[in-house]
């Protein structure tokens, strides 16, 4: 029997915990980490004045943003303009439902081990595009509209290679549950980063494009589109876009850890520590790429997805199917 009131209370508490984790670890310190890594790569110091070594910089920024006026352009579509940032923020949060953080005794720490976890993740990851497109369109600003449209075409293009990588892993593991996939990877060389190396590469490239990061940051391309789809957003609504974006980026890194790097598994240290270490490794990789490479053109970007990654993903699915069947 299910104790419904208890389950609801637990669900609410878990949501609050995961949301706080996302807001503090992913968004606040993710932004700080990004600036620190960027500073380090470009031989600068990065933020260092607020708090020890600039640790409280983003906290100060958030407090500042809380006091900023919310400006609505007269020409904008009010209702859509105001709800779009919420959609992006919640889409970033939802992906975390299926990600296993580690183990506590015999129990796996995961919000819910859905039996279609991988499909759920793909669905939630692509929900962001709705918020971005709505925000860009409702702003009634030419830069924002172009940013939103570019983002939509980019995200739907890279969703397919992403799904191909997910399917290849699900075939190898024989399950769509994220916990099941982690358990199917035993030992160092059992992790799917080796057995599914092409899928790993495809996943990393598609994930970078899905979260609109350099070298695929055309939607916000600050040198040509001002700030892309959030050109017209001010204060906290702008911050919600950032929150959703960084939440999504950390979710992608966490998913790469789960699918390819063996999730919470590892010797000596507790599972949660291993999970965080691997996740930050991927996050660092994404940041390293951001501060190293220039931006793609739109046609190059679409070519890479449709003419390289998509056929490669399909062929890799067939190869995996052949290997598993025969």
């Amino acid at each position: 029997m299910v104790n419904w009131p208890l389950e609801i209370v637990r669900a609410v508490l878990l949501t609050a915990a995961v949301f706080t984790f996302m807001a503090v670890v992913a968004a606040m310190f993710g932004v700080l980490l990004e600036r620190k890594v960027g500073g380090w790569i470009q031989s600068r110091l990065g933020p260092k004045h607020v708090g020890p070594q600039g640790l409280l910089q983003t906290v100060a920024d958030t407090i500042k943003l809380l006091q900023k006026e919310h400006i609505e352009p007269r020409a904008a579509d009010r209702a859509i303009f105001n709800t779009a940032p919420l959609v992006v923020a919640v889409a970033g949060l939802m992906s975390w439902v299926v990600i296993p953080f580690g183990t506590l005794g015999d129990r796996v720490l995961v919000v819910r081990d859905l039996n279609i976890g991988v499909v759920f993740f793909a669905a939630m990851a692509s929900l962001t595009v709705v918020g971005i497109l709505a925000g860009g369109f409702a702003s009634n600003n030419k830069y924002a509209l172009l940013g939103g449209l570019r983002s939509a075409s980019q995200m739907i293009s890279y969703e397919l290679p992403l799904a191909m990588a997910l399917i290849a892993v699900a075939m190898e593991a024989g399950t769509l549950s994220t916990v099941g996939i982690v358990e199917a990877q035993a030992g160092w060389f059992g992790s799917f980063a080796f057995r599914q190396f092409p899928a790993f590469v495809i996943f990393l490239i598609a994930a970078t494009a899905e979260v609109n990061r350099v070298p695929f940051d055309l939607p916000e391309a600050e040198s040509e589109l001002v700030a892309g789809y959030f050109s017209e957003y001010t204060g906290m609504r702008f911050a919600l876009f950032q929150l959703g974006e960084y939440g999504e980026m950390f979710a992608m890194a966490a998913m790469a850890t789960t699918l390819f790097l063996g999730g919470w598994k590892g010797p000596v240290l507790p599972g949660v520590v291993w999970f965080l270490l691997k996740m930050y490794l991927i996050v660092f990789l994404l940041m390293w790429v951001r501060w190293t490479y220039p931006r793609y053109r739109l046609d190059q970007l679409l070519n890479l997805s449709w003419k390289v990654l998509l056929p490669a993903g399909l062929v890799w699915i067939l190869i995996t199917g052949y290997r598993v069947t025969f």
Binding site: L66, L86, A89, R112, L149, A170, A239, P311
Partner: protein, 119 residues
């Protein structure tokens, strides 16, 4: 158990929205509201905005989304296949080979017709 799973998803959606809206309530309470009409004009690099942004845009975006729909539907079929194909052995593999083959032909067709070119 299945119902409990989706209860969690539903609660995540509702409570997540509420938590995301919370800072907006703080902004509503704290932030200043100064009525200056110029502030609410659309940003267009400092010049007076020219017309609306809701105008025609490149049809290519639409074309790509059409091709996307075809392949996204295919992906939906691949997900269930990916976990049960072991049980059916060679049969399932060859059936999927034909299915993916037809789709690859479709991709080549779209490619040759120029649907995947931006310029």
């Amino acid at each position: 158990m299945l119902l409990v799973d989706w209860l969690y998803v539903g609660v995540f959606l509702v409570v997540g929205l509420a938590m995301a809206a919370l800072p907006l309530a703080v902004v509503w309470a704290l932030a200043p509201r100064l009525a200056q009409p110029q502030k609410r004009t659309t940003y267009e690099s400092g010049v007076v905005p020219f017309g609306q942004a809701w105008a025609q845009f490149n049809v290519r975006y639409y074309l790509f989304s059409l091709v996307f729909v075809i392949f996204d539907v295919e992906v939906i079929y691949l997900y269930p296949w990916s976990i049960v194909f072991r049980q059916y052995g060679r049969y399932a593999f060859f059936v999927m080979l034909i299915f993916v083959g037809i789709l690859l032909l479709g991709l080549i067709h779209a490619w040759r017709k120029g649907a995947l070119e931006w310029t």
